[in-house]
């Protein structure tokens, strides 16, 4: 594994410099110098070099044995209700399985899960259903043990899970136990049919850079995907599928962690991540009382209230409402950004929304670069008009 510049061939032309997405190339004394730390050998510089001066050596990983077949989707549930993200993943999983000419399976661990047949209606050929009180809560240890066991037994080539708070916490543990790769928060999944590899595309660097990642030498190939990144298909209740009930062998789980109690938080009625409509306010609101305007518009639209970071830092609204890189990532059908300038960190959390409305008095605010509709104006005049007209 190495990257080097052949100084005999390098002319110091500098064409590789802007090609590096990570800004790791300097021209020193008329030659390109690449900082190795931070380089992931993406070959962008090599492609940009007209003199073949950049030499990259990659160890070719032994392709994984091909006894692994099938695409699996972890169908997360909470209190017996299946989460939407599992159905979304089945729609994408169906495409992948069809391309690979293999089966699509859903794995559902829960305690008395309702409407499991939804999983076959949404495309699963098989459902591995493990019903046990151990899966009643979101206590991770039994999930880690059982999913690892099922994967080891049935050897799927791909396993997908939702990048929910739960998925992001327990799924990496499964990947580490299986000593395989895991790609977080994929926004694109595709198949390299020739090599039978999963192409996993994800944003990094706050959504400013996209990277396509493969897992060539280990199986299964594992990815998480945030809710609402993929669309669920139309359910077909007549679709044939097998539901296989599996006994949970409790004694196979050695859990040193113990759950003592659970306290439900009832304050947040609409979950931002699940909301179809989100109305967010930013620094432009000026003071905490003005958040009432945002709330009122949210009520009029039947949506949830979000915020950019400054109001949270100022203590105008709790952190649970923060949308952005260090807050929540949302993908609603409709997103209102009110008095939000659109810092990169905020955009990272909301730019995949279907329809974005920006209301800001600064016509040059970056939020207008990602908005569908923009209104340049005084939010204190525009928003009350919107509320009034919606109420009518």
């Amino acid at each position: 594994m190495s990257i080097r510049v052949d100084s005999d061939k390098c002319t110091g032309c500098g064409s590789c410099q802007p090609a590096c997405p990570f800004g790791l190339i300097d021209i020193i004394d008329g030659k390109a110098v690449i900082k190795v730390e931070g380089c992931n050998l993406c070959e962008a510089c090599k492609e940009a070099c007209a003199f073949d001066a950049i030499q990259i050596e990659k160890t070719v990983q032994t392709p994984a044995g091909d006894e692994h077949r099938g695409v699996w989707v972890f169908a997360e549930q909470r209190n017996g209700e299946l989460k939407g993200v599992g159905l979304e993943l089945l729609a994408k999983g169906r495409e992948l399985a069809d391309t690979l000419k293999t089966e699509l399976c859903a794995v559902c661990l829960g305690d008395d899960v309702h409407q499991v047949e939804q999983l076959t209606a949404h495309g699963a050929d098989k459902v591995y259903l493990v019903n046990d009180p151990a899966f009643g809560g979101q206590f991770e240890d039994p999930y880690v043990a059982e999913l690892t066991r099922l994967i080891t037994e049935h050897k799927p080539e791909i396993v997908l899970a939702g990048a929910t708070p739960f998925g992001r916490s327990f799924f990496p543990r499964v990947a580490a136990r299986l000593k395989t790769g895991l790609t977080a928060d994929c926004t694109g999944l595709d198949i390299d049919t020739e090599k039978r590899l999963l192409l996993q595309t994800r944003p990094t660097f706050g959504g400013n850079i996209m990277a396509t990642i493969i897992c060539p030498g280990k199986r299964p190939q594992m990815s998480t995907v945030r809710p609402r990144v993929f669309r669920r298909g139309n359910p077909d209740a007549g679709r044939q599928g097998q539901i296989l009930k599996i006994d949970f062998k409790k004694e196979s789980v050695t859990s040193r962690t113990r759950l003592l109690s659970f306290v439900a938080d009832l304050t947040e009625k609409v979950k931002l991540e699940d909301a179809d409509i989100i109305v967010s306010g930013g620094r432009g609101l000026g003071k905490p009382e003005n958040f009432a305007l945002v709330r009122e518009l949210a009520v009029a639209l039947g949506g949830a209230v979000g915020s950019s970071r400054p109001p949270v830092d100022e203590g105008w609204i709790p952190y649970s409402h923060q949308v952005g890189q260090t807050g929540k990532t949302v993908c609603p059908k409709l997103y209102f950004a009110i008095g939000i300038s659109g810092a990169v960190q905020h955009l990272a959390g909301m730019q995949t929304a279907d329809c974005i409305i920006a209301i800001n008095d600064d016509p040059d605010a970056p939020i207008f670069q990602v908005a569908t509709y923009g209104i340049v104006g005084d939010l204190f005049k525009v928003v009350p008009q919107l509320i009034e007209k919606l109420k009518r």
């Binding site: 380089c39 206590f139 580490a176 706050g206 400013n208 493969i214 897992c215």
Partner: protein
């Protein structure tokens, strides 16, 4: 109690800007900072030492300049720090990073609690904490919002879950990741600043922690980046003109027409 806090140096994103013409990152003048989520991990480590005694060690895997960040960690209360830096570590995915950190934990020995931030703001995966716990075979608790007790070889914490919080208990040693709600990080103390100036921060290489070159860095990574590109921001807002009344009316009309509302 021996506490190890994992830190990562990341580009300070408040300064990340996009070149609107070339649609590339403008990296000039970007300062590196401690990953914001890791500052809560460090603060919690220091608070636990204050409550239960012991020692806080800050550790980071990264380029040589990450030593500055580790020095800063000492200004806010870490007792000592270790840098894992080697060309062999470069290009590591979360699995290789976890393997490398785990080796360092094993070399240190006698660690009761490993604390990580919930995720970094550059890679954004949040995978290293849970993966390291599995590599070490230790109990793992994520999204910790409060440490209730850590005496008597046991840890009792509150952790945030989607619709509330759980109280969870685990024997030590254990690995936890913490959320922003857990504390408010302190500012550097004068004493800490003095201490940081003279602190000896060792740099450990692959051979120091006994990790084979093929298990670390790019070579030890299960995943490989095959392509990197900039997302196209071609969407340009359709601007709605007029006075506020007309703007509001036009917008609602468009949303209704598109059946968004």
């Amino acid at each position: 109690m021996n506490i190890l806090v994992c830190l990562k140096q990341v580009p300070g994103t408040t300064e990340v800007k996009i070149d609107p013409v070339k649609n590339t990152l403008i990296r000039q003048g970007i300062k590196n900072v401690t990953n914001p989520f890791d500052t809560y991990a460090l603060e919690e480590g220091v608070r636990l030492r204050e409550r239960f005694g012991g020692k806080v060690t800050a550790i980071s895997m990264g380029p040589p300049q990450a030593i500055d960040m580790l020095r800063e960690a000492i200004t806010v209360g870490a007792d000592d720090a270790i840098l894992l830096s080697d060309v062999a570590f470069a290009g590591a995915d979360t699995l290789a990073t976890s393997n490398t950190l785990a080796k360092a934990v094993q070399k240190l020995g006698n660690i009761d609690l490993v604390i990580c931030g919930r995720q970094t703001i550059d890679g954004d995966t949040g995978q290293v904490g849970p993966e390291m716990a599995e590599v070490l075979g230790l109990p793992f608790i994520s999204y910790v919002s409060k440490v209730e007790d850590a005496a008597g070889g046991k840890l009792r914490v509150q952790r945030l879950v989607e619709d509330g919080y759980e109280t969870v208990e685990a024997p030590l040693p254990a690995v936890i990741t913490v959320v922003k709600e857990i504390n408010v990080p302190r500012v550097p103390s004068l004493r800490g600043t003095m201490k940081a100036k003279s602190a000896q921060i060792p740099t450990w290489k692959a051979q120091d922690i006994g990790i084979a070159a093929e298990a670390a860095g790019l070579a030890g990574s299960a995943t490989q980046v095959v392509k990197v590109f900039f997302p196209q921001r071609i969407k340009r807002a359709e601007m709605i003109q007029g006075d506020p009344t007309a703007q509001a009316e036009a917008l609602i009309g468009k949303l209704r027409e598109a059946k968004v509302i």
